[in-house]
């Protein structure tokens, strides 16, 4: 697609931008800047955002409260056995016939004890087969207490579709994966991927799929999962 016109149109646009910026902006929006000249705005973000407690217990409590508001099922479990038992109960209640997952230490420990047949997307990815699964079980990058979000990435969570195509998304996380706020999430991603290259997909999933498009009335399960279950393992 890289015809000469592609480069031409790029150059033309940059010329127009530079011409437009020749005059400095006249703005009285910054009469009272909150940052001294030697402090970048990025350095201060956490202090304006919603407060998060300092201790693990406070953060866990905030995550649990946010989950209730978001209609996420959040449960602390003591072991992989307990997680599997809970999923088997869900499977019976919701008449699951097949679940999908990806390889990972938490997933493997739990999947081994499931009573439902398991399809692993990393064996051979097939979107048609994935669509027939009743639940997608993934691991995650982190859980964000501040917003009740699950941070997913392609390498940690079995790619892009597993966590959005099946009607029930189950997240397995470790206690050590609970983090305070969004700036901490981006700091974590930078430490992990900044040097070697970010994944092509990073997502903050906050509650099950929802819409308010009809009369602004909340309906869950618009296109993505109707249910989101987060299980916190030791």
């Amino acid at each position: 697609m890289s015809s000469p016109s592609t480069a031409d149109s790029r150059d033309a646009l940059f010329v127009r931008i530079r011409e437009a910026l020749a005059n400095p902006a006249i703005s009285h929006a910054h009469e009272h800047p909150v940052h001294p000249a030697n402090v970048t705005p990025e350095a201060t973000l956490s202090q304006w955002l919603p407060a998060v407690g300092a201790t693990f217990e406070e953060q866990l409590d905030l995550l649990a409260r946010n989950s209730v508001d978001l209609k996420t099922e959040f449960k602390v479990v003591a072991s992989a056995e307990e997680a599997a038992a809970h999923l088997n109960t869900l499977a019976t209640e919701n008449k699951w016939t097949k679940v999908a997952t990806h390889r990972g230490s938490l997933n493997d420990a739990v999947a081994a004890q499931l009573t439902t047949p398991v399809y692993r997307v990393d064996d051979q990815f097939d979107k048609v087969q994935l669509e027939t699964c009743d639940a997608g079980i993934t691991e995650c990058e982190a859980l964000v207490a501040q917003t009740g979000s699950v941070c997913l990435t392609a390498p940690s969570s079995g790619g892009r579709s597993l966590s959005v195509l099946p009607p029930h998304h189950v997240v397995l996380a470790r206690r050590s994966q609970l983090i305070a706020d969004l700036p901490a999430a981006y700091a974590l991603l930078k430490t992990k991927y900044g040097a070697k290259g970010y994944p092509s997909f990073i997502s903050f999933t906050t509650g099950p799929s929802r819409t308010g498009d009809i009369e602004r009335i909340l309906v869950l399960g618009a296109h993505g999962p109707k249910k989101l279950t987060v299980l916190l393992l030791p």
């Binding site: 697609m1 149109s9 790029r10 033309a12 646009l13 127009r16 931008i17 011409e19 437009a20 910026l21 005059n23 400095p24 902006a25 703005s27 009285h28 929006a29 009272h32 705005p41 990025e42 202090q47 304006w48 955002l49 919603p50 979107k127 669509e131 917003t147 392609a154 079995g158 790619g159 892009r160 579709s161 597993l162 959005v164 195509l165 706020d181 969004l182 700036p183 999430a185 930078k190 290259g197 970010y198 994944p199 092509s200 997909f201 990073i202 997502s203 903050f204 999933t205 906050t206 308010g212 498009d213 009809i214 009369e215 602004r216 309906v219 399960g221 618009a222 296109h223 993505g224 999962p225």
Partner: protein, 469 residues
């Protein structure tokens, strides 16, 4: 073709008279306001958050060349194809050529206002490609063959029975009055479209220079499906969506959610940094980002109103605007309605044709107050009025001001005019609201306050005579 101003006046009159619809929209927005305030209150300091967001956008927009070049370099390093389109034609041609070259048959779209701006669906359909909108509101509007009413809540003007009837007529579903059942009808209908589509088209709420990523905010999961399953992902984005750093999103995502829909965090905030990378399980083989100017550089050149490019399209200014609430989204006749639309449309589509939008404001400033990135919206409306008058003066407005200036310099003339005003007003009912009435646009539906029977000058003299001060 009817001039935009005449259409605007006609539609404003019709929609302002539709009281049940106005009440319906107002009630819907009230629910939003309650939730927005609840989540704003969770911030430790909302005002400083706004100031910080505004400073970050200021940095990005005022160094747009630097950050766009950085974005392109980082995106291309991960296999993303970046195309800079100056005009809608260039953007449409790029996407159509790509679809042809890759033998695309069906296309699924998630919400992108930029595509409304360049009428992409019409162009693709004309070339024989099937295009389906997947956002529930956009899907409904597509079936109605009508542009979105609001750029965040596309079909907020519709009642459930209208949607049920629409689904019944267009896709043959059974009638229902349950919003949940209606949503499930759309879900079932669109499921197979995601699986079949070979191209997914999305917009983006932000583009990140530092990492060459785009960020997409949505609630339904339709954008995630659109960007996961088809083999090609095209994102159509305005050049002003730039953010310098990845961590800037930790402020912008909750602010967008709060200001836009009264949610601390929108359901899915997803960052895409390329096509499927080696070792990843799924994802598109190709990822194209089409960055479009379409007159944004003209707004950029306006040093006074450049901050209008800080806009993150949250829709907060529409939701609080008394004009929007009364005349509704379609009356504007623009891709972007409400206060921000009234500010930017004259820059994007011509000042003289769209200057009437700057007049459609009470200048109450609710928009400026609501804006999460502190755009000085109501002052920009005034500046547009000033610029339009300076560029092309209107003769009768000019004569009116000349007359006013003469009057204010002649105390005697002023005195006799105020003295005789009650007499003139006595005869006003004979012509009130008719074509002979110079004030008819105003007096047709309103009462003019009665002028005082005594002028202030006479009153003052009398009080002095009585010895009162």
């Amino acid at each position: 073709m009817i001039a935009p101003k005449s259409l605007f006046k006609r539609d404003a009159a019709i929609n302002a008279a539709d009281v049940p619809r106005r009440t319906f929209v107002r009630n819907a927005l009230h629910g939003y306001e309650v939730k927005r305030d609840l989540n704003k209150a969770k911030f430790q300091d909302w005002q400083s958050a706004r100031e910080t967001a505004s400073e970050i956008k200021f940095e990005g927009i005022n160094h747009l060349d630097k950050y766009l070049a950085e974005f392109a370099k980082n995106a291309e390093a991960r296999g993303t194809k970046v195309f800079f389109a100056s005009t809608p034609t260039q953007a449409r041609e790029y996407i159509i050529n790509l679809a042809r070259e890759k033998n695309v048959r069906s296309i699924i779209k998630s919400k992108t206002m930029t595509s409304e701006e360049i009428h992409l669906n019409d162009a693709l359909e004309k070339e024989g490609f099937g295009v389906v909108e997947s956002d529930l509101g956009e899907f409904i509007q597509q079936l109605r063959n009508e542009p979105p009413y609001h750029f965040v809540f596309p079909c907020m003007h519709l009642k459930r029975d209208e949607i049920s009837q629409l689904f019944h007529d267009k896709i043959g579903s059974a009638q229902t009055d349950s919003p949940e059942e209606l949503t499930m009808i759309a879900r079932r209908f669109l499921r197979e479209k995601y699986i079949q589509a070979d191209m997914g088209i999305s917009g983006a709420n932000f583009i990140v220079a530092e990492t060459g990523m785009i960020s997409v905010t949505e609630n339904e999961g339709n954008a995630r499906l659109t960007t996961s399953l088809p083999k090609i992902h095209v994102a159509l984005v305005g050049i002003e969506k730039i953010l310098p750093k990845l961590e800037d999103l930790s402020l912008f995502l909750p602010m967008l959610g709060t200001a836009g829909a009264g949610q601390l965090m929108t359901g899915y905030n997803t960052m895409f940094g390329g096509p499927r990378q080696p070792g990843e399980i799924d994802g598109p083989e190709e990822f194209h980002v089409v960055l479009i100017d379409n007159h944004r550089t003209e707004l950029l050149a306006d040093a006074e109103q450049r901050d209008a490019l800080h806009c993150i399209r949250c829709g907060a200014c529409l939701n609080v605007c008394p004009v929007f609430k009364n005349i509704g989204g379609h009356t504007y006749g623009t891709t972007y309605a409400g206060p921000v639309g009234s500010v930017i449309t004259p820059h994007l589509r011509g000042l003289q044709d769209w200057k009437h939008l700057s007049g459609a404001s009470s200048l109450c400033g609710a928009c400026t107050e609501a804006c999460p990135v502190k755009i000085d919206l109501h002052h920009h409306l005034l500046q547009n009025r000033r610029n339009a008058a300076a560029e092309k003066p209107v003769w009768w407005e000019k004569s009116l001001w000349i007359g006013f200036a003469i009057l204010m310099r002649q105390p005697t003339l002023y005195y006799w005019l105020t003295k005789t005003a009650p007499i003139a007003q006595f005869f006003h009912p004979l012509v009130k609201g008719s074509i002979l009435d110079p004030m008819q646009a105003w007096t047709r539906t309103r009462e003019f306050p009665m002028s005082a029977t005594t002028t202030f000058k006479d009153y003052w003299k009398q009080k002095k005579k009585q010895g009162a001060r």
